[in-house]
Amino acid sequence: MTEPAFFDEMTLADGAVRPAYKELSDWLTSTPAEQFRLKRREADILFRRLGITFAVYGEGGDPERLIPFDVIPRVLSALEWAYMQKGLEQRVRTLNAFIWDIYHDQEILKAGVVPEALILKNSSYLPEMQGVDPPGGIYSHISGIDMVRVGENDFYVLEDNCRTPSGVSYMLENREVMMRLFPALFSQHRVAPVDEYGDYLVQTLRECAPRHVEGEATVAILTPGIFNSAYFEHSFLADQMGVELVEGQDLFVEGESVFMRTTQGPKQVDVIYRRIDDAFIDPLTFNPESALGVPGLMNVYRAGRITLANGVGAGIADDKAVYTYVPAMVKFYLGEEPILKNVPTYRCADQDSLAYVLDNLAELVVKEVHGSGGYGMLVGPKASQAEREAYAARIKADPSDFIAQPTLALSTCPTHVEEGVAPRHVDFRPFVLSSGASIRMVKGGLTRVALKSGSLVVNSSQGGGTKDTWVLEE
């Protein structure tokens, strides 16, 4: 088998440097390797000082770890961004329309575009939400759309994250750290800023306030607490937005309203950006064991007296089998041609696909439909025969729980690793903010990079790192 040719975002197969990378390429050539090592150490110190850690408890070792940061930025041209932005807006608009439809008239099921069983028997579908009108009609206020690139003009959506996509703090802090490390590099590039994200987010949330709210809505972020792996991000966002960071114990429901306990007594809250899963949000409605949530919150939500972002039940759009229907949804709801492509996906629930998948496991990536974080997936070409056989048994036991995709030749970017600067595979998660009135994005996103040579898995829980992403202005 020949090594597949990967698209490198800096250097083409013929050795030519792509225009967006011209300055960066010169810089890489003229900078001694030692310099990268020094800057990397400096970056580690900065991240630690700022407390930008990602908590891993219960595995031994330092509970506050750093996500490896690569000091070489990834560069996207203005044109590439413009294309993605248009496609992302279309996709997120569609996803919100879809979730609304599912929890109301289910037109798309009646039309037979999406199979009824896939939705109604799905554990991510919450019957409790049927007929509930979230303020502004928005379910996914903050969407993280994972994208990969395989060629000059070949971008694919890998998965949609409509529940609680995380990682935006790394986008912001990576930029902050890069500006401290390499100020001169910024003066050579026209890098679009990303720091208005906090303002965009709070505007988006305020626009989605319940109808009864007069004046400026009170927004709070609900966190599971300091032991959550993304706690840094929660506090960081509260800081960026200038809103309270609350835990379940700080909130209570009285009558038809939600209040926080403050030094001056109870204060009503209008919008909660919650970073707690649906199952834990209200022990009276969902998991009765949950100590993280707020008893009675769902009643207030159903009555339209509080906005929860993201909305409850949005997870139905994250299902990896539902994903395969998104291009069809774009046509169904917007009457438009989809701008962003899906990765061709085999639903193991289909008999024909199942047979194909089982026959071609060595070529495919197989994922659980509800999985995330890179856990529980099989990368066929990298797996051993025994691993593939074990996985095949799992698929056969419950085919509808799995989908499979061809192993994508993810693009690579120059990355500083032990041996020096080398190409490593990357993906990209831009963040899309939706209120009923508008869609907002900053020009950027989180680039994750697989630091191991040849690895295609970029998740931080699996040894991946991050990079700053530069979108160049015209």
């Binding site: 630690r48 000082r49 700022l50 407390g51 300091i226 506090s235 960081f236 509260a238 800081d239 309270e244 960071l245 609350v246 835990e247 114990q249 700080d250 926080m260 306990r261 403050t262 030094t263 001056q264």
Partner: protein, 316 residues
């Protein structure tokens, strides 16, 4: 502001101040232990008084550790079994700070976080070189830096007032304790301090609160116990005196009252304690007995802390 946040900020400041005071107490004990003319029990009594002041003597005795200088210093500075050790205080300060990061300025957080991250290394270095004082100096320096950063960067609003309240309640408690531990060697009014050791001990009380030079400047005479007590209880110029601390507490409660548009019951107790100090003379303090006076102060100061917590943080 969230009640929980107010509580975290208040304790963050208290723990930082406490860590500093522990360093001061240990510094004094260390200085005393280096005295050549101490005999017999002299050595140990100085370390023991460090434990009494920091309130960890019962816990230390329970631990079954040998009652020697090394064990005591470890217990007060580094022990994880002693919740009032410098180590645990800085850890608690940082945990409280981490829970309310959004209410701290970046500079405050970095100072706090750096302190926590550097703690282990500093302690190990000091132990290896046998220079405990270098560690204590560092702790004092970090606390000073934190307080200065807070003072220089924090918005003057409720969060600031709560953090200052924490600082001064803790400081008042500490000054009263240091003074109280020395009460039993107080001499009658007007008399000079006796022999070399006594003299040295009283000087160290002054050193512990960074007041040796101030004493000389204000009194222009050799340290006399009752004047030292006056300085640390009743002189407003002295930033670690009880009256100074109470003045700050009243001022910060006023700040809260202004922002919230009303006073809470704790204002009355603070105001009362402050005016009593204002209108009390050193003679009156001594007539009733300094120890009795300090014991009463410490207990009222505690109550004030509890009242403030109850009034604003709804925790009790």
């Amino acid at each position: 502001m969230l009640s929980r946040t107010a509580n975290n900020i208040y304790w963050l400041s208290r723990y930082m101040e406490r860590a500093e005071n522990l360093a001061r107490i240990l510094e004094v004990a260390d200085r005393m232990s280096k005295m050549p003319n101490l005999e017999g029990e002299g050595h140990y009594s100085e370390w023991r008084s460090a434990m009494i002041i920091s309130g960890c003597e019962p816990l230390f005795e329970e631990s079954g550790l040998p009652a020697d200088a090394v064990a005591i210093v470890d217990f007060i500075a580094r022990s994880e079994e002693n919740p009032s050790s410098i180590y645990c205080c800085i850890q608690a300060a940082r945990e409280n700070g981490r829970a309310v990061r959004t209410k701290l300025t970046t500079e405050m957080w970095e100072t706090l976080n750096d302190t926590w991250l550097g703690l282990e290394q500093r302690w190990n270095d000091a132990k290896r070189r046998g220079e405990i004082r270098a560690f204590l100096d560092w702790v004092k320096e970090r606390s000073t830096l934190f307080r200065g950063t807070l003072y220089g960067t924090m918005l003057r609003d409720e969060a600031y007032y709560f953090s200052r309240l924490g600082t001064f309640l803790e400081r008042a408690d500490n000054t009263a304790r240091i003074l109280d531990v020395k009460y039993h060697v107080l001499l009658p009014e007007g008399e000079d301090v006796g022999g070399g050791v006594d003299h040295y001990q009283w000087m160290t009380v002054l050193r512990a609160v960074s007041a040796l030079r101030s004493y000389h400047y204000l009194y222009r005479e050799n340290p006399k116990p009752w004047k030292i007590a006056e300085l640390l209880v009743l002189r407003r110029e002295m930033p670690r005196s009880l009256i100074s601390c109470m003045g700050e507490i009243v001022a910060n409660l006023e700040g809260l009252a202004e922002q919230y548009g009303g006073r809470s019951p704790s204002h009355r107790l603070a105001g009362k304690m402050f005016s009593e100090l204002k209108f009390t003379s050193a003679e009156e303090v001594f007539q009733g007995g300094l120890h009795e006076f300090l014991t009463k102060f410490i207990s009222r100061n505690n109550r004030l802390g509890e009242d403030i917590t109850r009034d604003y943080m709804f925790t009790g």
